[in-house]
């Protein structure tokens, strides 16, 4: 059967939001090195908030095969929404600060500097039902998985009509089922 190559394609042009971040992040990625959470650009949100959101996004939706640049791109939506709506901006800045405060109290460091994922997840569990976490979770479930660039990494092929559908591209090519 026709299978999909899920490996990352390195050296591809990256689409980060602002030129300021795109340059270093692209340079890093083409060198095979990922961008750190701090590379996320924030024009409206505090830089700390943005870096926290990027760390949170991986902890909420952990896909070890995905480089941080995908999470950075997914989080760009938060800066855009904060720019358009002051209450969103306040919710995100305050939510991130509250999370950091809880982390300081428990682990003596900022949330994103807590080394163990299980510890960071415990902090997120502590804010499970808050409007902040719900906002981050529900926006990200769209902005992360709706990036056509990463679909192939999950084995999803996206738009198909321009390729003539799957009628000649493996709609029925499964070859491992037991014969009945």
């Amino acid at each position: 059967m026709r299978v999909i190559d899920k490996r990352a394609r390195l050296g591809r042009r990256l689409f980060l939001r602002s030129a300021a971040t795109a340059v270093p992040a692209t340079a890093l990625a083409t060198a095979g090195i990922d961008a750190p959470a701090e590379a996320a650009n924030a024009e409206v949100l505090k830089p700390d908030t943005m870096a926290t959101l990027v760390r949170m996004s991986r902890d909420l939706y952990p896909h070890d095969r995905l480089a941080t640049r995908y999470y950075i791109k997914a989080c760009a939506t938060f800066d855009e929404k904060a720019a358009a709506d002051a209450t969103v901006r306040a919710m995100l800045d305050e939510g991130a600060a509250t999370l950091d405060a809880a982390s300081q109290a428990r682990f003596r460091r900022a949330y994103r500097d807590v080394p163990q994922e299980t510890d960071r997840v415990a902090l997120l569990e502590g804010i499970r039902e808050t409007p902040f976490l719900n906002k981050v979770r529900s926006d990200l479930v769209v902005s992360l998985y709706n990036q056509p660039d990463l679909w192939q990494r999950f084995g999803y092929e996206g738009s198909s009509f321009e390729h003539g559908g799957y009628i000649n591209r493996g709609f029925d090519d499964i070859d491992w089922l037991p014969q009945s």
């Binding site: 909420l60 979770r137 084995g155 009628i167 089922l177 037991p178």
Partner: protein, 522 residues
């Protein structure tokens, strides 16, 4: 193309251009009757369709405000998206998957067959399968349903093959690629299915039947059908004698217009149709039009649904090819020994990665959740669609606070499962899991109901006026020239997809309206 005057009081006005409204409009026009279809959505044609789930959703779906209540999980996960239905010319037949099944005889006689069930507001239809059979026949021919009229079935895709192999191991007998209103070979001026896999996003090859490019252009060719897009009907008006005289609607430019009418037929889907009747309350009809029974908006049904996804060692690529061409019918019988009345179908289903992320377990996060998506290429999926019990308090009401941009109260949708629904869903989850485990599934995922795609029953048919809103022809008991022409007429939901029945009823209704107009009775 016809263009009728706003003051032309000889036209039939139809609200909505979907399965019910689009079909009725064409059938009336073919019989020489002048028709104006008012459609709230825009006119998006085949070239406009997009093979991208969220973009397509933004283009076609009804995203205007709605609110929710009751205990169903959707009220928590998607409080403003109780239903997944369309606002566009063609209505939800742009989004639909094409599964076209007939009701079984007992599904018209639910009260007599299932008996008295606590909490359920069961009623027999004032109609039998035998009476509807000739219309099912015509509807299947119109829609080009595979497996009927000598039309071959579609080829099975990977997702079907997995389900069929599991079904065979379990000993299920009635397993095939379904009765689909999708061309398996060219027919009726439309090509055959290219296995594009975006059936839910509007079929770019036109192989799948939709009123948008079948009924509506055919009606327009007669010169007697006018479709006005971006026309949101706000109110149905009546005279002192209690007959309807026309409708008020908001046009493209936001202006209120009055279209006069000889007959009004409401086909806005089961959330908007009762909303419109309730919003049309007047001093003569203070509880809303056609609501002397108090049943308008009640008995809302959405089918007992659930999805089983299963992960395998090797890839499936369930998203390739026709979304819903695959069915196991063995559980559709009524066999109360299973612990519930009524039955259900198991049908193949797949979502693309973006929708999978949003719907596989709404609200979930963390490694357990993410690992489902890591397995995306290796998943198979099936949808369980079964009969749910009508309940008087599962209902559409006018929201006391929220209004739309025209100042009209929006629909509030309250729904709670009946114990029969819960028992049936559990059975479906178990059987669906067993199907996949029989062919080596390494993990089975139970996905809760999606925003409702099948919305039924809120203006139900009844023999006696006090039990329902419309009679056996969809004519309201209270107002002779006011009809209901969509799935809201359903007295019960049956254990199968509803659209074939909506179309059959609309065709039958068209003949009835034409005859009565010919005799000047309406």
């Amino acid at each position: 193309m016809a263009q009728f005057d706003l003051n032309d009081d000889g036209v039939v006005v139809i609200v909505g251009s979907g399965a019910g409204g689009g079909t009725l409009g064409n059938e009336l026009a073919q019989r020489g009757i002048k028709v104006v279809i008012l459609e709230a959505g825009a006119r998006n044609e085949i070239p406009d369709f997009i093979n991208d789930e969220w973009e397509s959703f933004a283009q076609l779906a009804w995203t205007d405000m709605r609110t929710t209540g009751g205990t169903f999980r959707l009220a928590r996960d998607f409080p403003n998206l109780p239903a997944w239905i369309v606002k566009s010319v063609g209505g939800t037949t742009t989004h639909w998957a094409g599964a076209s099944l007939r009701f079984q005889a007992h599904e018209f006689k639910v009260r007599s067959t299932y008996g008295e069930l606590a909490g359920a507001n069961l009623l027999d239809w004032p109609l039998t399968l035998a009476e509807l059979e000739p219309w099912y026949d015509r509807a299947e021919s119109k829609m080009g349903v595979t497996g009927t009229h000598g039309i071959p079935r579609l080829p099975g895709n990977n997702n079907f093959k997995v389900m069929a192999a599991g079904a065979a191991k379990l000993g299920y007998r009635e397993v095939h690629t379904g009765n689909m209103a999708i061309n398996s070979r060219p027919r009726d001026g439309r090509g055959s299915c290219q296995q594009i896999g975006f059936c839910f996003q509007g079929c770019k090859s036109g192989a799948k039947w939709s009123t948008l490019y079948t009924e509506i252009p055919k009606g327009e060719e007669t010169g007697r059908l006018e479709v006005r897009p971006n026309a949101m009907v706000a109110r149905i008006e009546h005279d002192d004698a209690g007959k309807v005289t026309g409708v008020l609607y908001v046009d493209e430019g936001g202006r209120m217009q009055r279209q006069r009418a000889r007959v009004v037929a409401v086909a806005g889907n089961s959330l908007e149709s009762p909303r419109l009747l309730l919003n049309s309350a007047s001093s003569k009809f203070p509880d809303g039009l056609a609501n002397s029974s108090g049943q308008v908006g009640r008995n809302y049904m959405r089918h007992t649904t659930a999805t089983v996804y299963a992960a395998f060692e090797r890839p499936v690529h369930m998203f390739r090819g026709t979304t819903m061409a695959g069915i196991i019918r063995d559980e559709s019988k009524n066999d109360p020994s299973r612990g519930f009345v009524g039955g259900y179908e198991m049908e193949t289903l797949s979502l693309g990665l973006p929708f999978m992320a949003a719907f596989v377990n709404p609200g979930a996060w963390g490694r357990d959740y993410a690992s489902i998506l890591d397995d995306y290429a290796n998943l198979a999926g099936m949808w369980i669609v079964g009969e749910d019990m009508p309940q008087a308090d599962n209902r559409i009401t006018l929201d006391p606070h929220e209004k739309d941009r025209n100042g009209l109260p929006v629909a509030h949708v309250a729904f709670s499962d009946h114990p029969n629904d819960v028992a049936m869903r559990e059975h479906g989850f178990r059987q669906g899991s067993a199907v996949y485990e029989a062919v080596g599934a390494t993990r089975v995922i139970r996905t809760p109901p999606y925003p409702s795609t099948h919305n039924l029953g809120t203006n139900r048919m009844s023999e006696r006026p006090r039990d329902g809103v419309v009679n056996r022809f969809g004519q309201t008991h209270d107002i002779p020239n006011l009809f209901v022409s969509d799935g809201s007429q359903f007295t019960s939901g049956a254990g199968c997809n509803p659209t074939l029945t909506i179309v059959a009823l609309a065709m039958r209704q068209a003949e009835h309206i034409a005859e009565r107009m010919g005799r000047r009775e309406i």
